[in-house]
Subunit: 379 residues, 2 copies
């Protein structure tokens, strides 16, 4: 193996695959990155056996080859090299010689034969999503995913495939969010239509990082095969296992009609909830929301040892008065991912699911493709 590439490209590739290897401590080979020349390009591969990533960069290849290089070492070394220089790489036995201007290093590597094969998709893709929309879906969906793994299906985001539409749902049983997105079906979409798939939250977090460095106007191509999901994001390919499990039939808990609907300034509500959460227990906190008339909403909380607080907010209300108790964290998580100046809150009573929807800043129409649902605390 002998080649030349830019420090910038090499560093970018390493920084993407490095995130996967960093957490891996059981199998020593997984702390390495496989680099390999193929078709006039340099490929970087890493896997933690749950997620695999392959990225290709441009390189001037003089001699083909492949080798497994220690991820942490190469990452620290490359990131300290000057950005404008070229990197010359030459493999001698299992020692990789790297020259970059006045900097020279010899790195001890491992045999590429020991590196696990990262699966690639065999069939054609089923659908694609524009990168900026995919980022938004992931950001909003992760707001309500479960952080503990008591129920493994809640540690992922559930995708339900219908005609030209996918529903991304996540819940930890206390709150739930659902994002509806129209997609470009490929012909192969019929293979998955009417089915579901649960993607691990960790996979979506890694995908989100990749999308943040990708072109918003391009599309990510998605393929589901053999209980695995494959993403093609430009020159980056990512594969992840899916979660085995049956997602609960959550649609049936979403109410269709409401006794009360209010319009409220999102920023003011968020600020009042943050203040109220100061006067609650840090975990399992409780805040009280009271709607006593058509124009005001009161947020209240108290903690015996600390004191109490109350905020009066202006609202526009239709329907009945309400009085309910919530965990402030669930409300904060939801408000943090909602866009726009105002939001709508729909309520039936103090023990039925409460629904939050975004409102379009232009025209004031309710946005229907994302809903955030919170279960109140029964008093």
């Amino acid at each position: 193996m002998k080649l030349v590439c830019t420090q910038e490209n090499f560093k970018k590739a390493i920084s993407i695959v490095d995130k996967i290897t960093a957490k891996q401590i059981t199998l020593p080979i997984l702390k390495n990155i496989l680099i390999e020349t193929k078709d006039g390009r340099l490929f970087f591969s890493a896997t933690n056996l749950e997620i695999g990533i392959i990225i290709k960069i441009g390189a001037k290849i003089e001699r083909e080859g492949k080798i497994a290089i220690p991820s942490k070492l190469i990452s620290e070394f490359i990131s300290n090299l000057p950005q404008e220089e070229n990197i010359e790489i030459e493999l001698n036995g299992q020692i990789l010689n790297i020259n970059c201007g006045k900097y020279k290093a010899k790195i001890n590597c491992l045999d590429s034969e020991d590196f696990p094969i990262i699966p690639e998709r065999k069939g054609v893709y089923q659908f694609s999503i524009k990168n900026d929309i995919f980022k938004d879906i992931i950001n909003k969906s992760l707001s309500s995913v479960s952080l503990n793994d008591i129920r493994v299906e809640f540690t992922g985001v559930n995708l339900s495939f219908f005609d030209e539409k996918i529903y991304f749902a996540s819940t930890d049983s206390f709150r739930l969010s659902e994002y509806e997105v129209g997609i470009k079906e490929n012909e192969a979409y019929k293979q998955i239509k009417e089915s579901t798939a649960i993607i691990p939250a960790e996979t979506l977090r890694e995908l989100s990082k990749i999308l943040h460095n990708s072109n918003d106007n391009e599309e990510t191509v998605v393929t589901i095969e053999n209980n695995q999901i494959f993403f093609d994001i430009g020159d980056i390919k990512m594969v992840s296992r899916l979660i085995n499990g049956k997602y609960p039939p959550y649609k049936q808990i979403i109410p269709n009609s409401f006794k009360t609907e209010i319009l409220i300034n999102k920023g003011e509500l968020l600020q009042s909830i943050k203040i109220a959460s100061v006067f609650t227990k840090k975990t399992d906190g409780e805040i009280n929301i009271i709607i006593e008339n058509d124009k005001n909403l009161v947020v209240k909380s108290s903690l015996q040892e600390s004191g109490e607080n109350q905020t009066d907010l202006l609202i526009e209300k239709t329907g009945e008065n309400q009085d309910f108790v919530l965990n402030p964290r669930y409300l904060i998580d939801g408000l943090n991912v909602m866009d726009g100046t105002n939001i709508k809150i729909m309520i039936n009573d103090s023990f039925s699911p409460i629904i939050l929807k975004m409102v379009n800043d232009k025209g004031g129409k309710t946005v229907d493709n994302f809903i955030y649902i919170i279960m109140p605390i029964r008093k």
Copy 2:
């Protein structure tokens, strides 16, 4: 107690005193901030028994009073209030009522009588230092202070008072720095002339945070009394105990003459040391620096399991060739606090102290008021 002040001033005061209370867990009263009206101003006091801070802000006082308020609670509450609003405060018994526009809170407080008295200086101050210079002194001095407390005197910065000059020295026995600063003596300076004082590093870290939010062109007034040191920084007063202990007579280890003197680009040297430290053990790492001719310096390191590296840097040299071994961390710590494009390094041999000095970008003169000294590792 009844008063009105701005959210901005109240928040700023809390954020300064809060840093002291946050770490305190033994005595419950120390988790509180004492607020007190005096001479038409509102005073905030906090102490962890090592460091005490008092800050005053403007307020419209209707009724005098004082009370101890829980630091964490008030800090979280106040920082979430809207910045442009006024805060109305009224004490009823031990409950503090705070109103700020639509936000209202009642906070349970503690009796102010239980709050420890924070000492204030009795005599006149001895000297003053301009704030921007004081920040620079602290930043540079903390680079070489000891992080473990095996020798308590090394956990502080030693001040030696001479005619119109103070020497700030710090060391952990592996490296040492000394900052010489001219000061404005007050008449009382003669009380401390020819003496020394060791200020805890923690005190200087807190002082540095305060100085970063103060006017660079104003001066901090310093007073030493009864084994305590007092700082007046505008409307903020800070007091700290001094460290009991005898600082070693470090001046005698600083060589007066050198066999080799080199001029080198600081940024390039720092980059090469960071790269070299990738190929060393994480603690007690060793890098080799070789000066083989008048124009080149080689930085080398190797680690059996990882590999090796070498960087060639351009220098201007006078004197003998050299070959020595250093812990890269000590060199990085020193280079990180040095100003200017180039630095001078003075060497005698592979087992004598090595000296780093800054070089003035304009004119290329050596800067003599700060030196950073590293002990090489004997091979």
